[in-house]
Structure formats: structure tokens, C-alpha cells
């Protein structure tokens, strides 16, 4: 059912502060590391110092004897189940072999973290070092050492996805361009390190507290790892200190923590250090992308062929799914006639890679949107005109079968192009040391993602309490992006009550919350919002039936506004919502005034060839940027960003601009500064000292434009905004750099050294 855009909303569409920000500014919000339980022990993990080695022996005798130590566990003490997603290939603790620096070997629970750490140092492991593979080229060489003996050629997974006839179409093109691109390893680097508290209850059930985006997925993966039933586990999610895709899935620390709790009979807490975060938490899948694009003279895109080789690291987790997104999504950005992608995900003896804001789509956008500009320059077409000529439009069915029900792509491109050009002084020091350039890039993404024929919905419980206050339960995490506020706004608007009367359960508990997939794929506003909307409608109907009985009328003669139920025709005849609730609850009326709805969006899902309309709503955006390049040092300074995002309908514009500004900061960091440097399998920068993220001083001037297209499936027309905000920034910056100094950087990050060398080479060639 489509909800018509309604401009007379009382709670929606307003820039409202987040409902949980008071707890955060006072320091009262409790994050994982703030939780404490009587008798709680601290856990620490022994990690592999080698990228690839055979474990010959482990001796824990000295560690066990250290006073204050309660348990020391190795692979022998935990189930040997392999867990993970589509390619389960990881054990809780390493069996026989370690595959990357940081791989979990043993763990200790002790009275204090210091004792646990000391005990870790007393565990003696004898390793036989093995030759390793540290990049995808090495890993794919014939006869290369195998990361997993059963994964031939070190291939984790491959995809070949073909639509239309690329060979025929390439033959008919005026031009064919082939270019290569490379993206780097970057860390989500959320400010709150990952952690877990595990406790076995007296009834034998396992309780977990953890900072995670997906409580129910955590529960099922933990069950898989520990070999117990999901229904025997409760996952609680307290306040989450940022996630950005890095906290969707459990890591080894979760079942390790549970195993330590099981062995000691005490609650056990593990909180990672920042160094452990950098060594073992999952960076963005790094990819090498060869792109071949066929175009006509007028800039019409015809055919696209991509060959992607991406780094999986030592274990798979979400990387296979990320590869699939990388392989497909940009094919639906423009109206290509045909596309083909060959993709291979390759094991290496390095930190496993996984999801980070954009989930594969961001990597491919760097290639596609960089090449778009390169092609436009080569054939002499304005890059803005070329994008507009090829942009998908509302009503399109894309090559992969997406039904584009709402699309503001062209509007986004036009908006940022006009704005960034307007402020740009082309005559600014054109041959001097500092040169300015502008560039744009656009993007598409999803709001939810049905995998095959699986559930892609969400659930919510909404209920009135006897004083008229509303309680909303959801299993979708708020990691700071404002999900609770969006849910509260949707409930308040739908029910006709003031926002202050809506309470969203402050933490997630899988025993209480109805089943939800979790916060990823930019899905929560759209899919979770739809569940809250429907549950609210049902509860409202219940309330109106009761109110009609009391007011001696029919429910459809009534309206609820600002917490008051009244007759449409006679507003003087009224009851407050609180009065209706008092009449209905704890009385012989026995009115439920509660509803749980499980909502699944009306999308098809995908067939075995990944074809099909799989997302509730497709999102679009564009960034225009202006940079200043110091030709003497190669330093790129980001001066301005104009950002336009099609969010369908902005439930909370303050939240939307917060997402845009934050996404730009991460996108610019990825483009210019961030890079996990690997040397023979060892990460060289495991600290925020030398893994450089944007500070307040690095931020450009940002203008945000919210484009509304009223999506027919999204609640009140709303679509997702989380991931899209980072996607266009890196290619827009690369395009602006070429505009400024005439050289193209095709690999991330765009470091001063690369810019300096490329610029000086270009001068030599000219000279």
C-alpha cells in the first residue's frame, strides 16, 4: 500500500534532536564497556604473531597457575564448528594452523584485565612458520601456498554475471575504453571498540551483551559457532558507539567470551584494544578493477565489462556478498545496453575483509565514476551532460531487473553540478603552485536487499500503556544514526500522539524484540519504519474501536491529533488518548492496545542468476567537490562539497544532514588519508596515530541538499541514507584532482606522493 506524501505532518519531516541524545550528552548512556556484573571476569585473547604458521604445540601450564586466572582455553576446549556466512571457514580458536597476524589462538579469563594479559604472555606456543600469500597476485600464482587446504587456487568465490550481449554491443560502439583502478584497505574505525559480555544463566541459557548492528544475526551465528540452539541465547545490545557496517556480524571474540563464561561459571567481559581493532576487525574489501566501457560519440553508454579481483583475507565472512554487490550495482546506475562482470574473491594471509559503509558498491563506484569522467574528457563531452544523458530514471527496469519506483538521480546531479561550478573561480592561480579543480560523481544504492527468496523485512511491536504513553520495541540497532528517533517519529505521526509520549525500548533484547534482520544495507528507516508504521496503524485501529464505543460513534468518524481523539464533525466531543487507555487497560474492557507486525516488502528477490527486483527502494545521490592541489608537495586539500541525496522523504532532516556530513568525512578520509599498510602480511599502522582519519580541521565546507521523490514503498515515502553518503566522495575527489592539475590518480588513497609523481611525470612528458 502506498502512503501518499502528506505535507501536514506534525512530527515527520521536522529537524528534531535525537530522542536519546540527553543520555549521551550527560554520559549516562551505557555502552558495552560501561556494563559491569557481580563477579565479572575480564577476558583476553592470544593472537597469532605470524601471517601463516602451523601450530606445533601449545602449553598453557604457566598461565593456568598464575594467581587470579580462572580459565585458559585453546581450540581443544571449544566446539570445532566452522562458522561464517555463505562460506563458513573460521573456527572459534585456531586449529592446527594460523592464517593471519591476529588470528585467535587461545584465551584467558582472569580477575582483572592486567592479570589476563599477563597470563596471555605465559602461554607457550610453538609455531612452524609457513610461506604465505600477502596479496591477490601472489595468491593466484600457480603453486602458491594455500591459505585453506580445501580452497584450491586460494579462491573463496567467483561470480560471472552477464546481461545482454556485450560482445555484439562492444563491436557497435564508437569508442571502447579500458582502465584499471584499485581501492585500499580501510577500517570502519568506529570510536567504540568492539566488545562482549557473556554470562550463563541459572537455567542454562546464554546471555550476551554486545555492541552490534544485528542482534538476531549475532544470535544465529553464535548458535552455529557454539553448536547450541539460537533459542537458548539472548543477545542484548546496549548503546552502540558507531558501527558503519563493521559491527554487523559477530567476530571470534563472541564465542570465545561465551566459552570462557561457560568454563568459569562467571560473567566474562572482553573489550578489544584499539590495536586489536586494527589487527583483526574487518576492513573494507580491497579490489583491483579492470573496466572496459563502450560508448557512442555523443556520450551514450552502451556496454560495460568489469573484471574484479578482490582481497578476502584469511576468512570469508561477508566478503562474498560484498563482491556480489561490487559486481552488480553500478550496472543499474546508468542505462547500459549490456554488462558483464567476472569477479574473483581471493584468500590471502592477511586480515579478513568485510563490510564497511557501501558494502562493495562504494569500491565499484570509485572505478565507474572515475572512468566516467575520463571518458567524457577523452571524447569531449561534458561529464555532467554525459551523466545526465545516461542516468536511470523513475519507471526504468534496469539490466538486473530492478524496478526503479522513485529516482532523483538527475536532480541530484544537476543540483551539485550547478552549485559546485558557481562557487569555483576558474581563474584561480591557473599555473601557480596551488591549483583548484572541481569534480562530480553520482551514485545508486539500496534500502534493504533481499537475498534470493529470503525474508527482507522487519518487525515491530507497538503498544499503549495505561497512561496513554506508547512503547515501541524493535530489534533494529541504533548505532548512532538515529533509528530510534525515526521509529518514534513514525509511531507518533501514525498514532497522532506527541513525540514525547513515545518510548523506544532503549536497548535490544532478542527475547523481547520481534525478529529483525538488523541495521545494514541502509534498510532500517525503510523496512523497519514500515513495520513500525503498520504496527502503529493496527494499534490505532484498536484504540479507535474503544474510543468509538465510549463516544457512541463509529471508529471512522474519529480522528486522533496531538494525543486527543475527537469526532471529525464535532471536535468538542473528545477524549484524550490517555483517557481511552485508562478505560481500556486494567479494566474489564481488557483491550489489548498492542500489536506486533512482521512486515516483508513487496519485492521479488533474486533468481539463481541474481536477477530480480530485490530492494524496497533504490537510492541516488551526487557529490560535487572542489579541491586545491599543492603542485609542489602533491597535497590535496578538500575545500567544498555540495551533496545532494534522494532520500525519498526526509523523516528527520537533521538526521539526514548528519548522515551526509559524516559520510563525506569518511569518504574524504578514504580518498585522501586512510590506508591500512600491509608489509608481508603485517599491518604497519595499528594505531589512530598513524591510521589517519579526518579531524575537524580537515573538513571542507559542506552544503547538503535533500531531494525528495516520495517512494511508493518507503514509509511516508522514505528511503535509506546511511551508506549512500560516502559513496560518491572518493571518485568526485579524483575527478576534481584531474580538473585541477591534469593528472589522473586511479588508486586510493590519493596520497601526496602519488599526486606529486604523477604531476611531475606529466610535466616531463609535456616538456
Amino acid at each position: 500500500m502506498a502512503i501518499k506524501m502528506e505535507r501536514r505532518h506534525s512530527v515527520l519531516g521536522k529537524a528534531l534532536p535525537f530522542i536519546d541524545s540527553r543520555q549521551k550528552v550527560t554520559g549516562k548512556a551505557e555502552y558495552l564497556a560501561d556494563l559491569s556484573f557481580p563477579g565479572m571476569l575480564e577476558g583476553k585473547i592470544l593472537r597469532s604473531p605470524h601471517p601463516h604458521a602451523r601450530i606445533k604445540s601449545i602449553n598453557v601450564d604457566k598461565a593456568v597457575k598464575l594467581p587470579g586466572v580462572w580459565a585458559v582455553i585453546t581450540a581443544r576446549d571449544v566446539p570445532a564448528n566452522k562458522f561464517g556466512l555463505s562460506v563458513p571457514d573460521v573456527n572459534i580458536l585456531a586449529i592446527d594452523k594460523v592464517r593471519y597476524v591476529g588470528d585467535e589462538v587461545a584465551a584467558v579469563a582472569a580477575d582483572t584485565a592486567a592479570i589476563a594479559q599477563e597470563a596471555i604472555g605465559l602461554i607457550e606456543v610453538e609455531y612452524e612458520e609457513l610461506p604465505g600469500v600477502f596479496d591477490t597476485t601472489q595468491a593466484m600464482e600457480p603453486g602458491a601456498p594455500l591459505v585453506h587446504e580445501d580452497k584450491k587456487g586460494n579462491i573463496a568465490t567467483t561470480y560471472h554475471i552477464k546481461r545482454g550481449n556485450v560482445d555484439e554491443d562492444f563491436a557497435s560502439c564508437d569508442f571502447i575504453f579500458e582502465d584499471e583502478f584499485e581501492t585500499s584497505l580501510v577500517q570502519p574505525a568506529y570510536m567504540e571498540p568492539m566488545g562482549c559480555v557473556a554470562k550463563y544463566e541459572s537455567n542454562g541459557r546464554l546471555t550476551i551483551w554486545t555492541s552490534i548492528q544485528s542482534a538476531f544475526q549475532a544470535r544465529s551465528e553464535l548458535a552455529k559457532a557454539l553448536g547450541i540452539k539460537a533459542s537458548d541465547i539472548t543477545v542484548n545490545v546496549p548503546y552502540v558507539g558507531g558501527g558503519f557496517g563493521g559491527k554487523i556480524w559477530i567476530r571470534n571474540l563472541h564465542p570465545i567470551c561465551a566459552a570462557l563464561a561457560g568454563k568459569t561459571g562467571r560473567p566474562v567481559r572482553i573489550v578489544l584494544t584499539r590495536e586489536e581493532e586494527f589487527l583483526t576487525m574487518r576492513p573494507r574489501v580491497a579490489a583491483k578493477i579492470k573496466l572496459k566501457t563502450g560508448v557512442m560519440k555523443d556520450g551514450t553508454l552502451v556496454a560495460k565489462e568489469a573484471r574484479i579481483i578482490a582481497m578476502n583475507g584469511a576468512y570469508s565472512w561477508a566478503a562474498p556478498k560484498i563482491m556480489l554487490n561490487m559486481a552488480m550495482r553500478t550496472d543499474c546506475l546508468y542505462r547500459y545496453k549490456s554488462t558483464q562482470t567476472f569477479a574473483a574473491l581471493v584468500y590471502t594471509n592477511t586480515v579478513p575483509t568485510s563490510g564497511f559503509r557501501g558494502y562493495g558498491n562504494a569500491q565499484m563506484h570509485f572505478a565507474v565514476e572515475s572512468q566516467m569522467d575520463m571518458i567524457a574528457r577523452r571524447i569531449g563531452v561534458d561529464p555532467v551532460v554525459m551523466r545526465l544523458k545516461n542516468a536511470v530514471r523513475q519507471g526504468d527496469k534496469t539490466l538486473h531487473g530492478w524496478n526503479v519506483r522513485s529516482c532523483g538521480l538527475s536532480k541530484c546531479i544537476e543540483t551539485v553540478a550547478a552549485e559546485i561550478k558557481k562557487g569555483h573561480d576558474k581563474n584561480y592561480d591557473p599555473s601557480g603552485r596551488f591549483r583548484r579543480g572541481i569534480g562530480i560523481a553520482c551514485m545508486n544504492h539500496v534500502s534493504g536487499n533481499r537475498s534470493g527468496d529470503n525474508f527482507d523485512g522487519s518487525s515491530a511491536t507497538v503498544k499503549f500503556q495505561e497512561d496513554g504513553k506508547v512503547l515501541v520495541f524493535t530489534g533494529e540497532s541504533d548505532m548512532g544514526q538515529g533509528a530510534k528517533t525515526v521509529m518514534a517519529q513514525i509511531a507518533a505521526e501514525t498514532l497522532g500522539v506527541p513525540l514525547k509520549d513515545v518510548i523506544v525500548s532503549p536497548f535490544i533484547n532478542t527475547d523481547v524484540a520481534p525478529f529483525c534482520l538488523g541495521t545494514y544495507s541502509s534498510r532500517v528507516t525503510t523496512v523497519g519504519g514500515n513495520a513500525v508504521l503498520r504496527a502503529s496503524q493496527q494499534v490505532k485501529a484498536q484504540l479507535l474501536i474503544l474510543a468509538a464505543k465510549v463516544l457512541d460513534t463509529e471508529p471512522n468518524n474519529l480522528v486522533i491529533r496531538d494525543g486527543v481523539v475527537s469526532l471529525i464533525d464535532n471536535p468538542e466531543k473528545k477524549l484524550t488518548v490517555a483517557e481511552v487507555c485508562r478505560i481500556g487497560i486494567r479494566t474489564r474492557e481488557s483491550a489489548g492496545l498492542a500489536s506486533t507486525v512482521s512486515y516483508d516488502p513487496p519485492t521479488e528477490g533474486t533468481d539463481a542468476d541474481y536477477y530480480g527486483d530485490y530492494s524496497s527502494a533504490y537510492t541516488y545521490g551526487a557529490h560535487g567537490v572542489e579541491v586545491e592541489v599543492d603542485t609542489l608537495t602533491g597535497t590535496v586539500k578538500l575545500l567544498r562539497v555540495s551533496a545532494a541525496h534522494d532520500v525519498g522523504y526526509a523523516v528527520n532532516p537533521l538526521g539526514v544532514t548528519g548522515q551526509i556530513e559524516g559520510g563525506i568525512s569518511q569518504g574524504a578520509g578514504w580518498a585522501l588519508y586512510e590506508n591500512l599498510v600491509l608489509k608481508d602480511g603485517f599491518i604497519q599502522n595499528t594505531s589512530l596515530k598513524n591510521y589517519v582519519i579526518m579531524t575537524i580541521k580537515d573538513m571542507p565546507e559542506i552544503t547538503c541538499h535533500i531531494i525528495e521523490t516520495n517512494d511508493p514503498i518507503g514509509p511516508y515515502g522514505a528511503k535509506g541514507i546511511g551508506e549512500p553518503t560516502l559513496i560518491p566522495t572518493p571518485p568526485a575527489i579524483a575527478n576534481a584532482v584531474e580538473d585541477a592539475i591534469g593528472v589522473r590518480i586511479t588508486s586510493l588513497p590519493i596520497t601526496p606522493e602519488k599526486v606529486y609523481r604523477a604531476f611531475n611525470n606529466s610535466i616531463k612528458e609535456e616538456g
Partner: protein, 161 residues
């Protein structure tokens, strides 16, 4: 000898005495011994600023301060800003301007903003950036920090009048 030393300090206006070892850090004493968990630990090496507290009028990264260095000092943590259930104007401004997302860096940022506004009632954008440059925030892109500090400055001015 248990290796413990008496540490006397004032925390949020209360006289505190705790026993600590010489290697204990101020952040751990605040968080674990005094249960003032509003002070966050994001990196443990003075890079992220989440553990910022005000010590004798100046902001410090409490993860770099040996607890005994706080002997006889006056400490203000985020828990010390709210008075009788009333938020400090800086706290109000951060809420109103949407400068809070995940909230993990927020306590430290607010304390640095307080220290700045205590010294400079109407800071320029550049002065705000300098004062907050020791804080890493991964959510907000910092833009709303600047509007929040300016809003707070205006609110504080009104309070004085």
C-alpha cells in the same frame, strides 16, 4: 606493602579518596573505581580524545594521566555538568543542533567545548576547530560541533545576563 597509594582529589565537587597502584591511569580510576563511565576509552593512547576530562581547569586525556598525578587536583567529568537535573547550556546546544550521533566521543567533546568557552566566550570558527582538533568523531563529520559550540556560546551569554 600492597603497592597501593591513597589518591585524594575532588571529582565533580565531591572529595574522593581511593587507593590506587602507581601504574593505574586516571581513566580507569574514574571508570572502574568511581563508576563514572561517561568518560570513554577509545584508544588508550591519547589519540581520540574520548577520555577527555577537565583537570584543574585544563582538558587532559585521562588515558595518559597516571592517577597519582591527579593528587589533590580538581577533576570535572561529563557527569559534573548537569546541575539539579538541569543540563549545562553546552549539553543543550549539542542536543538541539544534532551534534550527537553515536555519542561515544560526545562527553569528551563537550568538556573541551566547556574549557574553550570558559576561556573564550565567543570563539571564532577557527578557534573552535583548534580546541576540538584533538577529538576524533567518526559519525558527524564535525560540522554540527561548530554550530553547537556557537549556539552554546549564545546560550551562556544569555545565562550571564
Amino acid at each position: 606493602m600492597d603497592g597501593l597509594n591513597a589518591l585524594k582529589m575532588t571529582v565533580n565537587g565531591r572529595n574522593i579518596e581511593v587507593r590506587v597502584t602507581p601504574d593505574e591511569l586516571l581513566v580507569d580510576v574514574l571508570r572502574e573505581k568511581l563508576r563514572l563511565t561517561g568518560t570513554k576509552k577509545g584508544c588508550g593512547e591519547g589519540e581520540c580524545g574520548a577520555c577527555t576530562v577537565i583537570m584543574d581547569g585544563k582538558t587532559v586525556n585521562s588515558c595518559l594521566v597516571p592517577a597519582l598525578k591527579a593528587q589533590n587536583s580538581e577533576i570535572i567529568t561529563i557527569e559534573g555538568l548537569e546541575k539539579n537535573g538541569e543540563l549545562h547550556p553546552i549539553q543543550e546546544a549539542f542536543i538541539e543542533q544534532g551534534a550527537v550521533q553515536c555519542g561515544f566521543c560526545t562527553p569528551g567533546v563537550i568538556l573541551s567545548a566547556k574549557s574553550l568557552l570558559d576561556q573564550k566566550p565567543f570563539p571564532s570558527d577557527n578557534e573552535i576547530k583548534m580546541a576540538l582538533s584533538g577529538h576524533l568523531c567518526r559519525c558527524t563529520g564535525y560540522v554540527k560541533f561548530i554550530t553547537a559550540v556557537k549556539t552554546a556560546a549564545a546560550k551562556l551569554k544569555r545565562v550571564e545576563q
